[in-house]
C-alpha cells in the first residue's frame, strides 16, 4: 500500500499533512490508550474527526467501539486526551448536549415504546419541542410503529429507533457504531442518505463498520484501526487504491484452465498462477487487478476458452487489515 496512507510511523507533531487529522477537527484524540485489565483496547492512538462523514474501519476487536465510547465519555482513557469541541466529554457534561452515540449493542430499555424512548432522550436533553420525537422517528421510518415496544423489534428496527433517539437532540456530532447492522437493503440506502444529509448540514458524523463497501458509500474520509492502533487514514479512494495495489488472488473457472493459464502467464499483471483442485479453477495472483480484469476476457476470447466464474478471493476488509499490519 502507499506509505503516505500510513500514519502510525509519522511523528506526532506532523499533524498538518497527516491524513489521520481533519483540517477543522471537532473531535480530537491525542495519544490515547485504553485498557481493560490486561487487555489493551487502544494504544497511543492519535487522530481527529471533522465535519462530514468519517468512516471508522477495522476488524472485530480493533478498538472501534472503545474509541467511540471514549469520544463520548462513556469510557475514561487511561492515557492521553479526548477533546470534543475543545472540551473533555467525560468531565464537562455540557458538551454531551452536542454529542449523540448510537451504540452497536442490541440492548434497549425494556418496557418502553419507541416513542417513549425517544421522548425520554428528548426530556433528558431538555428538548422543548414536543413534536421533535415524532419527527425523529419519522426520519428513520419508525413513526408507524412508534407505539410498539422497542424490545419486541427486530435488530434493524431497534437500531433505527436508537438513531431516532440520537437525532432528537439535534447533535452536532453523531457517533454511530455499526449503524447499518440488521437493516435490510432498502433501509440501508435510506439510512445512508440520512447520514449524508446530516453531514451536508456541517455535522460531524462518525460511522464505524467492518465492511469497507458499506462505509465507502457514505464516507469521504476513513480511519482504519487494527489491534487498537492506527493502521491507515485517508480519503476513500486512497484506501480503495491501497486495496487494489496490494497482491490479490483471483479465482478463474473456465472450460479449459490449462490453455487459459498458458496464455495468461505471459501477462505483466499476472504474478503467478496455480491450479486449485478444490475450487476446480485457476488462482491467479496479481498486483494490478484492474489490468487483469481488462485482459482476462480478451485472452479468453483469443484462446476460445469460456469463462465460467471470476471471483476475487480476498476482496474483503479483513484481507486489507492483514496487509496493513504485515
Amino acid at each position: 500500500m502507499g506509505r503516505a496512507l500510513m500514519t502510525t510511523d509519522l511523528p506526532t507533531g506532523s499533524v498538518e499533512h497527516d491524513p489521520a487529522f481533519a483540517a477543522d477537527a471537532t473531535v480530537t484524540i491525542s495519544d490515547v490508550s485504553v485498557w481493560f485489565g490486561a487487555k489493551v483496547a487502544l494504544s497511543e492512538l492519535s487522530c481527529s474527526f471533522g465535519p462530514g462523514i468519517t468512516g471508522l474501519l477495522g476488524p472485530n476487536g480493533a478498538g472501534k467501539t472503545t474509541l467511540m465510547r471514549a469520544m463520548t465519555g462513556l469510557v475514561g482513557v487511561n492515557q492521553g486526551t479526548v477533546r470534543v469541541e475543545g472540551r473533555d466529554p467525560r468531565r464537562e457534561r455540557n458538551v454531551r448536549g452536542r454529542l449523540a452515540l448510537v451504540p452497536e449493542d442490541e440492548a434497549v430499555p425494556a418496557g418502553l415504546t419507541a416513542r417513549q424512548l425517544v421522548r425520554y432522550t428528548a426530556d433528558l436533553f431538555g428538548v422543548a419541542d414536543r413534536e421533535a420525537p415524532d419527527r425523529a422517528l419519522a426520519s428513520v421510518g419508525m413513526l408507524s410503529v412508534a407505539d410498539r415496544r422497542v424490545n419486541e423489534f427486530s435488530k434493524g428496527m431497534r437500531q433505527r429507533t436508537k438513531i431516532a433517539a440520537s437525532l432528537v437532540t439535534d447533535p452536532s456530532i453523531l457517533v454511530l457504531d455499526e449503524p447499518l447492522n440488521g437493516a435490510d437493503p432498502v433501509q440501508r440506502l435510506a439510512l445512508i442518505e440520512l447520514f449524508k444529509s446530516l453531514a451536508d448540514t456541517g455535522r460531524t458524523v462518525i460511522v464505524s463498520s467492518h465492511v469497507l463497501g458499506e462505509v465507502e458509500r457514505m464516507a469521504e474520509r476513513m480511519i482504519v484501526l487494527v489491534h487498537g492502533r492506527l493502521a491507515a487514514a485517508g480519503g476513500r479512494h486512497a484506501i480503495r487504491d491501497a486495496m487494489d495495489d496490494r497482491p490479490r488472488h483471483v479465482l478463474v473457472r473456465s472450460t479449459d484452465g490449462r490453455h487459459l493459464a498458458i496464455a495468461l502467464i505471459g501477462l505483466e499483471a499476472v504474478d503467478g498462477i496455480k491450479f486449485d483442485n478444490a475450487r476446480d479453477g485457476l488462482v491467479i495472483q496479481t498486483r494490478n487487478a484492474r489490468v487483469l480484469a481488462t485482459a482476462l476476457p480478451r485472452v479468453a476470447r483469443e484462446t476460445s476458452v469460456r469463462l465460467l466464474e471470476v471471483r476475487a478471493l480476498d476482496d474483503s476488509l479483513e484481507s486489507l487489515f492483514r496487509e496493513l499490519v504485515r
Binding site: F36, T65, T66, R69, T72, G73, L74, V75, G76, R91, R93, N94, R96, G97, L99, A100, L101, P103, E104, D105, A107, V108, P109, A110, G111, L112, Q116, L117, Y120, T121, A122, D123, L124, F125, G126, V127, A128, D129, R130, E131, A132, R135, A136, A138, S139, V140, G141, A165, L167, V168, D170, V186, Q187, A190, L191, E193, L194, S197, L198, T201
Partner: protein, 262 residues
C-alpha cells in the same frame, strides 16, 4: 422508509421542556421493572406475609405482639426486606449497566445527582408500595394489627435505605447482586451480630431497632445497646441512605460503561 426531515425542526411557539427529574423517575418505573423483576420483588414480599402466618401459629411467646416482633426481626427485617430491596436496587441501576442500556441516561447532560436521586426515588416508591405493605400485612396476619404501623414505617425506611445502598454498589461494581448479598449476609448479619459498630451502619439492624422502638411491649432481646430505637433509628437509616446516595453520585462520574458485551 422515509428520509425526510432528518432533524427536528424548531417549529411553532417554544414550550418548556419537561423536567429531567420527572423523566428519570418515570423511566425508572416504566423500564426498570419488567414482569420478571416484579415477580422477584413480590416473592419475598409474599414470604414476609408467610412469616406473619408463622407468628400466628407459634404459641411459646407470652403475647402475639412479642411473637410477631421476634419473627419479624429475624424473618422480615433480616431476610425478606433486604432480598426484596436488593432486587429493586439492582433493577434501577445495576441491571441497566450490565444490560448496556444505562448510556441512554448517562450520556445526557442531566446532573449526576439528578440521575441518582431520580433512580432512587423510583426504586423507593416501589419498595414503599410493596415491601412496607407486606410487612404491615404480616402483622395483621399474625393477629397483632397494632404492630402494623411500626412494621410499615420500619420496612419503608429500611428498604429505601437499602435501595440507596444497592444503587451505590451498582455504581461501584458490575457484580451488584454478589456484592450486595455479601454485604447483607456476611457483613451485616455475621459481623453486625458481633460488632455494634457495624450494626450501627446496617439497614437491617437499624430497621429492626426502628420497628422495636415503636412497639408497645418490645421483647428485651431485640433491644441492642448502642443502637437507638424508634425515631433515632429512622434518622440513622436516612443518614445511611444520604451517604449511600452521595457515594453513588460521586462514583457515577467514574463509571466505565464499556457495553453489555464486555
Amino acid at each position: 422508509m422515509s428520509t425526510a426531515a432528518p432533524l427536528p425542526a424548531k417549529a411553532g411557539a417554544p414550550s418548556r421542556p419537561r423536567s429531567r427529574f420527572i423523566a428519570i423517575v418515570a423511566y425508572t418505573w416504566r423500564s426498570c421493572f419488567p414482569r420478571k423483576r416484579w415477580a422477584a420483588v413480590l416473592l419475598p414480599c409474599a414470604g414476609a406475609v408467610l412469616f406473619g402466618l408463622l407468628a400466628r401459629t407459634v404459641d411459646h411467646f407470652p403475647t402475639r405482639e412479642r411473637a410477631f416482633a421476634n419473627i419479624a426481626a429475624e424473618g422480615i427485617f433480616s431476610l425478606m426486606m433486604p432480598i426484596a430491596a436488593l432486587v429493586i436496587g439492582d433493577s434501577v441501576l445495576g441491571a441497566e449497566v450490565r444490560a448496556g442500556t444505562f448510556h441512554f441516561t448517562w450520556l445526557s447532560p442531566a446532573p449526576r445527582w439528578q440521575i441518582v436521586i431520580g433512580r432512587w426515588l423510583g426504586g423507593a416508591t416501589v419498595s414503599i408500595t410493596t415491601i412496607a405493605p407486606a410487612a404491615a400485612l404480616a402483622a395483621v396476619v399474625a393477629g397483632t394489627a397494632t404492630s402494623a404501623g411500626a412494621a410499615f414505617v420500619a420496612a419503608a425506611v429500611g428498604s429505601v435505605s437499602y435501595v440507596a445502598l444497592f444503587i451505590a454498589i451498582g455504581c461501584i461494581t458490575r457484580r451488584t447482586a454478589v456484592w450486595s448479598l455479601a454485604i447483607v449476609f456476611l457483613v451485616e448479619r455475621l459481623l453486625g451480630s458481633a460488632l455494634t459498630g457495624i450494626a450501627q451502619l446496617s439497614p437491617t439492624w437499624e430497621s429492626r431497632a426502628a420497628f422495636v422502638g415503636y412497639l408497645d411491649d418490645p421483647p428485651s432481646r431485640l433491644i441492642r445497646s448502642g443502637i437507638p430505637e424508634g425515631g433515632g433509628a429512622i434518622v440513622r437509616l436516612l443518614i445511611i441512605a444520604a451517604v449511600a446516595l452521595a457515594i453513588a453520585t460521586w462514583r457515577m462520574s467514574h463509571m466505565r460503561l464499556s457495553g453489555a458485551s464486555d
